[in-house]
C-alpha cells in the first residue's frame, strides 16, 4: 500500500479538476521535474547533454505534437519530418532576417508558420481517412523537403545548402551557436518541453481534447452529435504542426546547430517519431515523453553494448541494431499494444494493492 488515494478529499471543483488529483502523483512529478532542472546539471557531462538529454526533450515535443494528431484525433500522419523541416527553415529565415528578435518569439513564430503549412496539408483529411491519409501526408514529407532543397531562398543562397544557426541569446544566456554551453541548451529545451507538455495536458482534457477524441473514436457519430469535423480536424493538424515545428526549430537551432534539411528531416524522422508515439502510448501525454526517451536511448545503449561490450564491428553492430529494434517493436506491439504509458499505469495499480495480489 505504497500508493493510495484514500483520505484525500477534494473540497473544491478546482481540486477535482487538477491535472494530478492524487497527491503522490503530484509529488512524484514535481520532484522529478525539480531533479531535471536542478539535479541533472550538477552531474551531466557534455556527451550526456548532447547525445541524450537534449534530443530526448526535442523529440518529446515532436512526439507530443504527433500524439495530439494521431493519438487524440486519430489522423495517421507520416509527414512529421517535413513539418520539422518547415520549423527549422522558418526559424533560420526569421532569425537571420531579424537578428534582434528574441529567440522565444522566433520559435513561436516558426511554430505558427508550421501550423499554417500543417493546416494546408491537413485539408485532405476531411475527405480521406486511415492509410489513404497516411500516404497523402507523405506528399507533405517529400514535397517540402524537395522545396527547401531546390529553392535557394530558403537557404539564404548559401552554396553548400546547409543551414547554420547564428549564436542567439535568451535573456542574456547564449543557447545557440557553437559557443553555447550544453547546460544552457538543455535547460532551455527543458523549460520549453515542460511548458508545452503542460499546455498539451490541459488541451486534451478540455473541450478541445474531447472533440478530438470524439472524432477519433467515430467521426460520423461525432459529426452527428454536433462536433464540426472541419474545425476539429484542422485544429488538431494546426496544434500538432505547431508542436512539431517548434521541435524542428529546436532540433536545428539548439541541438544540431547546422543541418541539411533534406538529410536531417527525412522520412526516417517521420517513422521515428511515429515509433515514439506508439511505443510510448497513443493518446497519452506521459507516453510521448517515455516513448521519446526510449527510442533515443535504445540505439545508443545497443551500440555501446555491442561495439564496446562485445567488440563487434560498427557495421555489424548497425545490422544487429536493426534486427533488435525491429524485434523490440514487434514484441512491444504483441505484449502491450497500448504502449509504455499503460505499463506505468499498471505499475501504479500494483503499487496500490501491494502486498496483496488483488
Amino acid at each position: 500500500m505504497l500508493y493510495r488515494e484514500a483520505g484525500q478529499f477534494k473540497r473544491s471543483y478546482e481540486a477535482d479538476a487538477a491535472i494530478f488529483p492524487i497527491a503522490q502523483d503530484r509529488w512524484v512529478v514535481m520532484v522529478f521535474v525539480a531533479i531535471l532542472f536542478l539535479g541533472v546539471p550538477l552531474v551531466a557531462s557534455e556527451y550526456i547533454y548532447q547525445a541524450i538529454l537534449v534530443p530526448v526533450l526535442i523529440y518529446s515535443i515532436a512526439a507530443l505534437g504527433l500524439n495530439i494528431l494521431t493519438g487524440y484525433c486519430g489522423q495517421l500522419s507520416l509527414g512529421t519530418g517535413g513539418f520539422m523541416a518547415v520549423g527549422a527553415v522558418s526559424c533560420y529565415k526569421l532569425t537571420t532576417a531579424f537578428p534582434e528578435m528574441n529567440l522565444i518569439v522566433v520559435l513561436l513564430l516558426s511554430g505558427v508558420i508550421t501550423a499554417g503549412v500543417g493546416v494546408i496539408f491537413g485539408i485532405p483529411s476531411l475527405r480521406i481517412k486511415g492509410f489513404y491519409l497516411a500516404v497523402a501526408t507523405l506528399a507533405a514529407q517529400f514535397f517540402l523537403n524537395w522545396l527547401f532543397n531546390k529553392v535557394a531562398w530558403f537557404q539564404n543562397y548559401t552554396p553548400s545548402g546547409t543551414l547554420t544557426m547564428p549564436p542567439r541569446e535568451v535573456f542574456g544566456v547564449l543557447v545557440t551557436g557553437a559557443e553555447a554551453l550544453p547546460r544552457d541548451r538543455y535547460l532551455f529545451c527543458l523549460a520549453l518541453a515542460v511548458v508545452l507538455g503542460l499546455a498539451a495536458c490541459n488541451m486534451v482534457r478540455g473541450p478541445v481534447g474531447r472533440a478530438w477524441m470524439a472524432i477519433r473514436d467515430m467521426d460520423i457519430a461525432a459529426e452527428l452529435i454536433g462536433f464540426r469535423p472541419f474545425n476539429t480536424k484542422l485544429l488538431a493538424f494546426s496544434v500538432s504542426s505547431f508542436y512539431i515545428g517548434i521541435a524542428g526549430a529546436l532540433a536545428f537551432g539548439v541541438w544540431l546547430g547546422s543541418v541539411e534539411t533534406a538529410e536531417a528531416f527525412d522520412i526516417n524522422q517521420s517513422f521515428q517519431v511515429l515509433f515514439m508515439v506508439i511505443v510510448g502510448g497513443l493518446g497519452s501525454i506521459l507516453g510521448s515523453f517515455i516513448g521519446a526517451a526510449f527510442i533515443v536511448l535504445t540505439p545508443i545503449v545497443l551500440t555501446n553494448l555491442m561495439v564496446y561490450g562485445l567488440g563487434l564491428e560498427a557495421v555489424t553492430a548497425k545490422h544487429f541494431e536493426f534486427i533488435f529494434f525491429g524485434s523490440l517493436i514487434i514484441l512491444f506491439l504483441i505484449l502491450e499494444p497500448n504502449g509504455m504509458a499503460r505499463l506505468w499505469q499498471i505499475a501504479k495499480e500494483k503499487l496500490r494493492l501491494w502486498p496483496f495480489p488483488h
Binding site: F131, L138, A139, I278, I329
Partner: protein, 322 residues
C-alpha cells in the same frame, strides 16, 4: 505571362514538335510504371486478404533479391565467404521461393497470429518492425555492399524508326504480364484462390464456413513474397541489389492509393499512370523548377486523385455507418 506560357503552353508545343520523342517518353514511362505495379501488387494482395497495410513489401523485395544473388554466387550465409556451389538461376530462384515461403510462415506464426484482432495501426506498425528485422537479417546474412544481379535477361536497345526501346523493359513488361495472368487464374480458378477471395470479403464469414484463416495468411504472404521476388529481380537487375531497393516501396505507395488499396487492376493501371505522369512531367515541366520532381510528383498526383475519389480510382467504395 511568361510563366503561364512556360507552364501551360511551351511543354505542349514541345510535345507536338517532336512526337517521336514524346512517344519514347511515354513508352519509357509505361515501362517504369510496370515496375511500380509489380511492387504495388504485393501490397494489394496482402491488404485485400488480411486488411494489413504491409509496409515491409519493399524490404521483402530487397531480401528476395539478396538471397537470390547470394545463392547464385555461392555465398555462405553470415560468413560472406564464397564456399558453396554456384547455383544456376533457375535453381536459385526455386530455392529463393522456398525461402520466401519460409519467411511467410514465420511472419504469420510469430507476428500476425498474436496480433489478430488488433487495430489497423498496430498491424501496420508491426510490418514496419518486420521491415527492420528483415533488413538487418538480410544485411547480416549476405553483406550490405552493392551486388550485381544477372539472371540472363537480355539488354540492349531495340530501334524502331527513330525510337529507342530498351529490350530489358520489354522483358520486364512481359514477365509482369505473365505474373498478373497467373495471379488472376490463381485467384479465379483454384480452390485456394477462391478461399482467398472469401477471406478478403469477410473474415468471420469465411471462418464460419470452414476456411482456415491461418493457412490462408501463410499463402497470401507467400504469394506476396513471390511478387516481391519478381519485383526484386527486375529492380535488382536494373539498378543493382542494394539498400535503396527497399525504398521502391515508397514509390509504390502513391500507385496504390491512385489505384485503390483493394484493387489488383487498380495497382496495375495506377502504376502505369504514375510511370507515364512522372516521366512526362520530369521531361517537360521538370526543367522549370530545376528538376528532381520525380520524388514528390506521384504523391501530389495521388493527393489530387484522392480529393475527388477518396477510395482511389478502382477501390471499393468505403461505406461507413454509425
Amino acid at each position: 505571362m511568361e510563366v503561364l506560357h512556360a507552364v501551360f503552353a511551351a511543354p505542349f508545343l514541345d510535345m507536338a514538335d517532336d512526337p517521336v520523342f514524346f512517344l519514347e517518353v511515354v513508352i519509357g514511362g509505361l515501362m517504369s510504371g510496370v515496375m511500380y505495379s509489380l511492387v504495388a501488387l504485393g501490397f494489394v494482395l496482402i491488404f485485400k486478404a488480411s486488411g494489413i497495410f504491409n509496409f515491409s513489401q519493399g524490404v521483402l523485395a530487397l531480401f528476395a533479391a539478396l538471397t537470390l544473388v547470394g545463392l547464385m554466387t555461392g555465398t555462405m550465409p553470415f560468413s560472406l565467404q564464397k564456399v558453396l556451389p554456384e547455383f544456376p538461376p533457375i535453381i536459385a530462384i526455386a530455392l529463393t521461393i522456398l525461402v520466401m515461403i519460409g519467411i511467410a510462415f514465420l511472419i504469420e506464426r510469430i507476428v500476425l497470429r498474436p496480433l489478430v484482432n488488433q487495430s489497423d495501426m498496430i498491424t501496420f506498425m508491426s510490418t514496419i518492425g518486420i521491415a527492420f528485422v528483415l533488413e538487418g537479417v538480410g544485411d547480416t546474412m549476405w553483406g550490405s555492399d552493392v551486388k550485381v544481379l544477372d539472371i540472363g535477361i537480355p539488354s540492349g536497345n531495340w530501334v524502331i524508326g527513330e525510337m529507342y526501346i530498351q529490350i530489358f523493359d520489354l522483358w520486364a513488361t512481359a514477365i509482369a504480364g505473365i505474373l498478373v495472368i497467373v495471379l488472376a487464374v490463381f485467384f479465379q480458378k483454384t480452390r485456394t484462390g477462391r478461399a482467398l477471395r472469401a477471406v478478403a470479403d469477410d473474415h468471420q464469414a469465411a471462418l464460419s464456413v470452414g476456411i482456415p484463416l491461418k493457412t490462408i495468411w501463410v499463402v497470401v504472404w507467400s504469394v506476396a513474397g513471390l511478387v516481391a521476388l519478381v519485383g526484386g529481380i527486375m529492380w535488382g537487375s536494373k539498378s543493382g541489389v542494394q539498400f535503396s531497393l527497399s525504398l521502391i516501396a515508397l514509390r509504390a505507395l502513391p500507385v496504390l492509393i491512385i489505384g485503390g488499396l483493394t484493387s489488383i487492376p487498380g495497382a496495375i493501371i495506377g502504376g502505369l499512370i504514375i510511370g507515364v505522369g512522372e516521366k512526362v512531367s520530369e521531361v517537360y515541366w521538370g526543367p522549370l523548377v530545376n528538376g528532381a520532381i520525380e520524388n514528390w510528383f506521384a504523391y501530389i498526383l495521388a493527393l489530387i486523385v484522392l480529393l475527388f475519389r477518396p477510395q482511389g480510382l478502382f477501390g471499393e467504395k468505403i461505406i461507413e455507418r454509425v
